[in-house]
């Protein structure tokens, strides 16, 4: 079977090369952003407002704006997502409504963000007169994150073995007591990672805050829910496409790097949560 062994060797080499390509794409992007971005990152850059005319200044209002947006979006999406997930995994009997709900969750997860942005602009900002503001962008972003929270939370709850529920019910626990004490408490870490995934998606989203959140170059922090809000991705977009001087590109790199670092923070913390609780689920 010499032929087979030779084939095996060739395939192995090809697979090694291809995997290195796909992995290197991440490192190349990260290093490129890190090298260019770290030049401009300084305390002053992180704590001052941008000056869009001369493409200088810092990104403080944008960082805070992004955090406001993500906070508002999570406050809406997390409860709704978890409630839906609990209903679907614990209470739902397979009737028409649950089938429709599942179908809509799949479609909601797939909706392109430009469609949500357009809807946010036309319905929330114009029709409901909420205006281009933190509120409309926050609500529109929550549409983006709800399906992710639902899917991950439901998966986490379904992973809790059926025997635990039966044991609790056999002790005379009500369905809600079983869900709360057994299912939710055991699946909590994974639900937490689901919410973090949603936060990551909302943080990295550009189209929705661009369309219904504000100009992205706000030099102030929104003082009420209905004031426009600058956000880090939109800032990076405008500085990247419209700034032609080197200081603009530097700030766009700075913005991208801060965004990636926020991302690493979220992904790493969700990995830590998942590993730390891995043992607890061992049955």
């Amino acid at each position: 079977m010499i032929g087979a062994q030779k084939e095996e060797l060739i395939i192995k080499i090809i697979l090694w090369i291809v995997s290195l390509i796909s992995v290197s794409s991440f490192f190349v992007i990260f290093l490129y952003m890190f090298i260019n971005g770290s030049r401009v990152i300084s305390l002053e850059f992180l704590t001052t407002a941008p000056n869009p005319i001369f493409w200088t200044g810092g990104i403080f209002p944008q960082i805070i704006g992004s955090l406001y947006l993500v906070a508002l979006c999570t406050v809406i999406a997390a409860p709704l997502g978890i409630l839906t997930a609990i209903y679907l995994s614990e209470y739902a009997v397979d009737n028409l409504i649950t089938k429709i709900a599942r179908f809509f969750i799949v479609t909601l997860a797939g909706i392109p963000t430009i469609v949500i942005g357009l809807f946010g602009l036309a319905f929330l900002a114009y029709r409901l007169n909420l205006g281009i503001s933190l509120f409309s962008a926050g609500v529109a972003l929550s549409f983006l994150t709800i399906p992710w929270t639902i899917t991950v939370s439901e998966e986490a709850m379904r992973a809790v073995p059926k025997e635990y529920r039966e044991a609790a019910l056999a002790l005379g626990a009500t369905r809600w007591q079983t869900t709360w004490h057994i299912v939710l408490k055991t699946a909590a870490p994974w639900i937490m990672t689901g919410i973090l995934l949603g936060i990551g998606k909302a943080l990295g989203e550009t189209t929705i805050p661009l369309m219904c959140g504000g100009s992205g170059l706000e030099t102030f922090i929104p003082r009420s829910l209905f004031e426009p809000v600058g956000s880090l991705p939109v800032y990076t977009f405008i500085f990247a496409t419209q700034g032609n001087v080197s200081s603009a590109y530097d700030r766009a790199f700075g913005g991208s790097l801060v965004l990636i670092l926020m991302f690493l923070l979220i992904s790493v913390s969700s990995l830590i949560i998942r590993n730390r609780y891995q043992k607890k689920m061992r049955t």
Partner: protein
């Protein structure tokens, strides 16, 4: 027996109705919040009242529209905010069309436009939009600084490049395909460019669309084979403005009329401006405002009074 699913859905529908009503009322709620907001900031201002005798202004303004007018208004807004700490102004671009449609839709306070409302391009201008001219501007043809093939173009040459008749730099002794860039359909700069240059034909479909002066400048500054048009206020060393029929698009030539291309820049409000809007417009028209106009490379009003 537990609730039959019919009862459950019926009950859910009532809840749904309440939800929709609730959502509908949010716009009243949003007015409520803005009043609450203004009340809250007036309380803040009360304690700093003694230090500042002038009638304190507070509230927030959203201004959006033409990227040509944007630099002027952004600088004015920063200065205005320093002088009136109670006021917060959010300035964003989006082009003249965006400014006009947004202010007539009523979700921004002031629209910026570099095209006047009576042109044929706007199908049915909102009757109660009130434009106020604040400065003048012109449009220049720009190429990459290293593009040595062209320095002076006639009107016809410009039209033939932009309508796709001339597609290669070899026509001017260079080489390589000409990369034509244009602006989004709603742009005031595009309208002015078409009025003066594209008298007989339309810009070629192959031209790449850029959505703002800034993006146009950044693209030409990074594409050696590119050619486009730009508001004079934006010109700097990263792009090379071309002479048209021998006349260089400098502020002096525009002032004397040698460089024939000229257009007015407007701030537009829906109906009579409110106290804050009027205060800001007056500030832009004041000597301090007009100085900023000149500083940004535009043409102050009094030069053409």
């Amino acid at each position: 027996m537990s609730w039959s699913s019919l009862q459950k859905t019926f009950f859910a529908l009532i809840l749904l109705a309440i939800l929709v009503l609730g959502v509908h009322n949010t716009w009243t709620m949003s007015n409520l919040t803005s009043t609450v907001y203004t009340m809250q900031s007036t309380i803040d201002n009360l304690n700093s009242m003694l230090g500042n005798y002038t009638q304190r202004l507070e509230g927030y303004l959203t201004i959006a529209g033409s990227t040509t007018v944007l630099p002027i208004i952004q600088t004015c807004a920063n200065l205005f905010m320093q002088e009136n700490p109670g006021v917060v102004i959010s300035v964003s671009g989006g082009g003249s069309g965006h400014g006009i449609s947004a202010v007539s839709a009523g979700y921004i306070n002031i629209g910026m436009s570099s095209k006047n409302l009576t042109t044929e391009q706007i199908t049915d201008p909102d009757p109660d939009l009130q434009p106020v001219a604040i400065a003048l501007d012109s449009v220049a043809i720009i190429v990459h600084p290293t593009n040595g093939f062209v320095d002076d173009l006639t009107l016809e040459e410009v039209e033939m490049i932009f309508n796709g008749t001339i597609t290669d730099w070899s026509h001017f002794g260079g080489s390589g395909e000409i990369h034509v860039y244009t602006r989004e359909a709603g742009s005031g700069t595009l309208e002015c460019f078409e009025k003066f240059f594209m008298k007989h034909s339309d810009i070629t479909g192959a031209a790449s669309e850029k959505t703002s002066n800034g993006e146009m400048k950044a693209t030409i500054a990074s594409d050696p084979a590119g050619i486009g048009f730009l508001s004079v206020g934006y010109i700097d060393e990263t792009v090379n403005p071309l002479k048209i029929d021998g006349v260089e698009p400098t502020v002096a030539n525009i002032k004397t009329g040698a460089y024939k291309i000229k257009r007015w820049l407007f701030l537009i409000t829906k109906g009579p401006p409110t106290k804050i809007e009027q205060a800001f417009i007056d500030f832009v028209l004041s000597s301090q405002g007009q100085e900023i106009v000149e500083q940004q490379g535009y043409l102050p009003l009094e030069w053409f009074q």
